[in-house]
């Protein structure tokens, strides 16, 4: 194999397309005449603004993301999202979670810190080896959202079809399946994923969220970094973002187009 590269079947981080790595290598000492590497440039520069704008535009095209959804680039991985989701989306302090393996369990444990968590279905009885029937869940009227991990890497189960949320907002962790199959974004209130499993380098989560779910009236103890509004209002640049990961993901999006 060229460059002596291994066949990497790891569950993650992602193997990256060789042409993408070659381009990154060739732009290392001087990105397109800017005189610098992307790691050295200001996130407030025109050249980086173009990189992040193109990355977002290409992802929007790939996933056919409707205009009323924001695309946010946030640090901290899925782990930080496990807390950000209840902090931002629990208006009534109540959410339904479906327990299907290690990652939904972690999300449940974190959400319990911020409100009532109803585990409406679970496959714990058979060591998370199947996806429970979610066609007729018992969902209280005032539930803020229904949460699933759409692909559980450790227990190896994936959702064949989405749960019936009975009109409630669906939030999905797509970390290990991001861009792996067609997905109708409008079926979800929010889709998110750490990019390192399927797209690019670790250190970045992508959040695709319906605009009307972005709230201002959060608990006053919410860290400013953990408000989706902070990131949405600042075009994901309230503080210095993970510019490198955005650059690399942007190249992968272009490659996939």
């Amino acid at each position: 194999m060229k460059y002596g590269r291994t066949y990497n079947f790891s569950a993650g981080p992602a193997t990256m397309p060789e042409p993408v790595l070659e381009e990154i290598r060739d732009e290392m000492m001087n990105y397109r005449g800017s005189g610098m590497c992307v790691m050295e440039m200001s996130h407030r520069s025109k050249v980086f603004q173009q990189i992040i704008d193109e990355a977002e535009a290409d992802l929007r095209e790939l996933m056919n993301i409707p205009d009323n959804y924001k695309v946010l680039f946030i640090q901290g991985g899925a782990t930080l999202q496990f807390a950000m989701i209840p902090m931002n989306l629990m208006k009534n302090g109540k959410a339904v979670y479906i327990e299907t393996g290690a990652w939904s369990k972690k999300a449940i444990a974190e959400a319990k810190k911020y409100g009532e968590v109803i585990v409406a279905a679970s496959s714990k009885d058979k060591n998370y080896s199947y996806i429970p029937d979610c066609s007729d869940l018992d969902i209280p009227e005032d539930t803020d959202y229904v949460y699933i991990c759409e692909n559980e890497t450790i227990h190896g189960v994936t959702w064949p079809k989405l749960p019936n949320t009975k009109g409630h907002i669906l939030v999905s962790d797509q970390s290990s399946m991001f861009l792996s199959k067609p997905c109708n974004v409008a079926d979800y209130g929010m889709i998110y994923g750490g990019v390192q499993k399927n797209i690019g380098p670790a250190g970045l989560a992508i959040v695709i969220i319906r605009e009307d779910l972005i709230r201002e009236d959060l608990d006053p103890k919410t860290p400013i970094y953990m408000s989706y509004k902070t990131h949405a209002d600042a075009g994901s640049m309230y503080n210095t973002p993970n510019c490198w990961a955005i650059y690399v993901c942007g190249k992968v999006f272009k490659y996939l187009k």
Copy 2:
């Protein structure tokens, strides 16, 4: 200039040493016979463990960090630290902050969410153009820590000497001066910085914290990612860290040695 690179005097992100960029470029397609780029490898692999271990060891050597201090690699930049510091270090719910410019102001605003903040000295009267006299501050006995931003990039002031904390713990934001001059780590309870100003690529903060300050008994609403104990117990790998930034910073540390 070689490669047509610019002279980059930007206040940040950091200009990187050319030999470091050349090494990264040359390791892009296959890192030292591993068959992959660092962006593609598991953070649980031996080869990445060696990268993070060496980065930490080299930083310890460069800064002469005592053994009773932990070195943590955390995502979210200084902005997430503005909240993590009071969440983790406010035992009595009280801290003294010195207001010297834009960055200490942001830290103060965030800390106020979690406890009582006493601004014991400020240079606001002259638009943050000087460092106030901190030789005899009025510091309540039960203050948990004294906080400074040791170099304020926007207002352009730096501390000629550290404040007299009267035996209280000193916490310092060194983002824009990290590794720029000798620093006696034992004078501080905690030193931290976003690495993008002085060392490497954005998306990583380095926290150097005295072990006894790492607590377990935090507010139950603290996100698991925002507990220093989470990161300390897991060797900065509770979840997938920003492997790329750790790899690049490690190379810069080796270059500086």
